[in-house]
Symmetry: C2
Subunit: 528 residues, 2 copies
Amino acid sequence: MLRSTSQSTTGPTPPGCTTDSLAAAITAFRQTLTAGQVLTGEAAGADHTDPYAFTEDGFLPSAVVGPTSVEEVQDVVRIAGEHRVPLWTVSTGRNLGYGGAAPRVSGSVVVDLQRMNRVLEVNTECGYALVEPGVRFSDLYEHLRSNDYPLLMSVPDLGLGSLIGNTLERGFGYTPYGDHSTIQCGMEIVLADGDLVRTGMGAMDGNSAWSLYKGGFGPGHDSLMYQSNFGIVTKMGIWLMPQPEHVTVCMAKARDESDLAALVDTLRPLLIEGTIQSNAVVGNTLAVASMITDRRTWYDGAGAMPEEAIASICHALGLGRWNARFAVYGSKELVEARLTRVRSRFKGIRGLEFVTTEYAGDATADQVHPADRAQMGIPSTDLIRMAGWRGGTPAHTDFSLVCPPTGRDAVAQMQLIRKRVKGYGFDYAGGFTVNPRHAIALALVSFDRDSDDERAKVARMFPELISDAATAGYAPYRSHLAFMDTIADQYGFNDHANRRLNQRLKDALDPSGILSPGKQGIWPPLMR
Amino acid sequence: MLRSTSQSTTGPTPPGCTTDSLAAAITAFRQTLTAGQVLTGEAAGADHTDPYAFTEDGFLPSAVVGPTSVEEVQDVVRIAGEHRVPLWTVSTGRNLGYGGAAPRVSGSVVVDLQRMNRVLEVNTECGYALVEPGVRFSDLYEHLRSNDYPLLMSVPDLGLGSLIGNTLERGFGYTPYGDHSTIQCGMEIVLADGDLVRTGMGAMDGNSAWSLYKGGFGPGHDSLMYQSNFGIVTKMGIWLMPQPEHVTVCMAKARDESDLAALVDTLRPLLIEGTIQSNAVVGNTLAVASMITDRRTWYDGAGAMPEEAIASICHALGLGRWNARFAVYGSKELVEARLTRVRSRFKGIRGLEFVTTEYAGDATADQVHPADRAQMGIPSTDLIRMAGWRGGTPAHTDFSLVCPPTGRDAVAQMQLIRKRVKGYGFDYAGGFTVNPRHAIALALVSFDRDSDDERAKVARMFPELISDAATAGYAPYRSHLAFMDTIADQYGFNDHANRRLNQRLKDALDPSGILSPGKQGIWPPLMR
C-alpha cells in the first residue's frame, strides 16, 4: 500500500494529503479541542508507535488527538474530513502484540480516546455497565469494588486495556462472560461525517433496554464496528455477571505431549452442555512456565529449547505437558454437581492430575492465586512477564488461529505452529482457548526487540505461518498491523466477496476514507 | 408511501414500475427459472397475501417466484434489478400475525424460498446444522429424529415456519437455545446485484468453523440481515443443543393478579445466573386458556370478558392468574440442584403453586404433554388455536413490546396493553417471555376476520398501543406490515440517526431499491 513520502515537524505526511493540509488540520484540532489534547512530533510518537515493532514499516503517527467528549470526537472527524487527513482510532491503545496504539498508515492522526473514561452507569438489578472507550478493565474493576456492587466482570490477560477496545477487537476473558463480543449490548457511534447513531434500543430516546436487548427494530449494527473502520464507538453496554456464591478454579494437568487431543475432546462436551461455564485455557509447559519464570534459568542455548529442558521444567514446576485451566460457578450444590461430572469425565485421561481451588465469589485479589485471577474476573498484569521469556528487551507478537474445538483440529494447529516456530529457533509457548464451539490457538512469540536478527525472523516467519494455516484450512481472527492485508487475503470465497462487501460499506459510511484506512485490510478507494 | 396505481393480469403494478416492465420481468423469470416456479394472478395471491388482514392496505403481490437454488436467486435479483421490479423475500412466509407472506408494497414480486429446503449439514460433535431458507422447524426436527442425532433444537410457538425466516425476524423458542439470533452463526447472502457473500469464517473457502465461530476477520455482517432488506439469506448455520439426560419442565402458578411483579422479579436472578436455562413464558389466565378452550364456553357477551368469567376459568382449569413455564436441563444431580434453588426462591410468593414434570432428554412428542413441547424442542401447531378464541373466522395479530426483565416494567407494560385492548372490547390474553436481560410483552389479539367492525378496531387500536408504549418509553421489536413505519418512527434518537444509517446502507447495498422496500421502515430513494 502507499507509504508516506515526506517528513515535517508534524511527523510523516499521510498518503493523499499534503504537508499543508495536514498542518491546517492540526491547527484546527488545536483550535477546536479546547479540553482535549493535540500532540505532534516526538510527543506524538512517544506512546503511539508499536512498542514491539519487528518490521521496517513505520506505522508512525503524524499527530495524536485526545478528545474528551463525543462532541470533540465529532469535531475531529469533521476536521479530518475537511482536510482529508486519515485518522486511526484507539480506545487506549493497549492492543499489545498487534501493534499497540500505532496506526496502519504512517502519517495518520491517532485518535486516542483514553480521556473519555467515564463509567456512565452500573445496573446491579439486570447486570450491566455502560462505559466510554477510555474505561480500562482495571478502572471498571475498581469502580465495582469501591461501590460494593455484587457483580463479577470478565477481564482479558492484561487488565490495562480498554473494555471497548478489547471487545471491538473480539478479545476475550476467562469467566462465563469471557466471549466479550457476545456480552456487548448496544453502542453509540460517531460516523465519519460526524453523525451520531445509537444502536439497538438506544435508537429510541430514553429506552431503558439499550444495554439489555441487542435487537432493536430493523438490522443490527453493533457487529459492523468489530475490527472495522466504519465508525468510532463512543459508548457501549457490557453485561456483568452476578457474583456467584462459590467458584472453583480447576487445573487439569496432562502428562503426555500426546494428551492434547483427549484434553480438548474431554473439554468440548462439558463446555457445550454448560457444565463448565468458563472457557478453558489449555497451555503447554512453556506457555505456563513463561508466566512464572524465564528461559535462561533452564536453558541458555540458541534455537528452540530442547525436549530435555522442557521435561525438567515440567518436573521442577509441577506442570503438565498440557495444562487446562477453567472454572465452575454457582451455589454450593451446583458447583459440586458440576465438579462431580467434570472429574468423572477427566478420569478418562490416564495420569492426568486434577487440582481444584475453591474461592468465595466475592474474593478479592489478595485472596486469589495470581494464576486464578482471570477466572475470578480480577485484572492483572502478570502475563506481561511472558514477553521477557527470551531476555533482551522484552517484546512479543501473537498468532491467533481459529478452529473447531476438536482434538483433531487442535493437534493439527499445534503441529503446524510448533514446526514453523521451532524452525525459526523460537520456543513454542502456546496453546488454546477452548470455547463451546470454537477454539483459538494462541502462540505468543517473544523476542528481543533490540536484536535485528530476531525481529527479522519474526517478520519472515509470520507470513509463512499464515500460509501454513491457510493450507490446512485455518485462518487467524486477529492480526498485527503488518499482516492485516495478508490475512484478509485468506478470506477469499467467491473471489473475495467479503472484501467487496466491506469496501462497499466503507464507501457508503466513510466516502472520504478518513477512518482507520487499512484496518483489517479494508482500504478507502485512494489506497486500494 | 406510494401505492400501486394500476392492475393487470399480472396483478397490481408496483410503484416506479410500468405494466410493461413488470410483464417483461415476469417473462424473464419464467424463461430463467427452469426448475423453479413463477405464479401470477390468482395463483400468486392464494398463499401470498396476509391471512389475517385487518387494514384496507392491499399488501398484494404481482407475482410469486419460487427459486430452487442459489443461482436461481441470483437470477431473480438480476432480472428484478434490470426491470426495476421490487421483490419481497420470504423464507416460507409463515410470519403469521405480522402479515404472513404478503409484501409491504403491493405489486412486489414475492420471492418464496420454500423450495430451497435442504438440511446441508448436521454436526453432532460440535452441535450445529447448516440449513437453507425453506427448512422448517418441523423439517429439521424430523431430520434429527429420523437420523437419531442426539441433539435438541429450539422451536418457536408454531413449528411450521422457516428456521431462517424466524431467526431473521428475531423470533424465539423456549429451550436454552431459545434466543435464535444468538445461536445463529454464519450466513450465505445474495446481494441485490447478485453477488454472493459468505460471512464470518465462511468467507474463507473450506474453513470448517463457518457455523462455529461468529467472528471471522473484520466486521461482522450477520446482524445486518436481521429484519432487513439488505440481502437474501440463502444459507445459515444454527447451533443445536446436545440432548441432556434429563429435563424438568416447571409451571409456577401465581394466585393473584398482583403477583406479576413478584413472579418476574423471582425469575430474573434465576435466569441471569443460569439456574433456569430456558426463558420463562409468563401468561395470564386467558393466554393459557385460549390454547385449550374457547371463549364462548365461558362467556358469550360483547366487550372484554368480565372478571368473574376469568375467575371461573382459573378455578375450573386449575390455572393461576399468572402462569410461568420454564425448564431446567442436565444430569440428574444438576437438575436437582437447579430445582432446589428454584423452589426455594418461589417460596417467597404466597399461595403460589409449583408443578414439575420430568422427562428424559430424548422424549418424543407422544411422551410429552402438549404444553411442555416447546421447552422440549418439539414442534407443534397447538398455538394456532389461540386465533380461534373469539369465534368467527380465526385471525390474530400480535403486539410485541421489549422491556427490561423487572416486575416494575412488566406491570407497566401489562397495564398499558390491557387498558387499551379492553377499551376496544377485546380480551387481554397476554403475558411475557422473560429472558435473563430482557422481557417481551406479547399480546395476541384474536379477532373475527369476517367482521368489518373487529378488523377496523384492530387497525385503529394498534397505532394507539404503539403510542401508549412510546409515552412510557417502550417500543415493539417486531411489526405487522401495516405498522412498520409507525414503529420505526419511535426510534428517533438524534432526529432518526438510526434510520439515516439504514438508508445509507440500503443505498450502498441495493442502489436500485429492489429488495423488500419498506421492510421495517427502510425505503429506497424512490419511495422515501
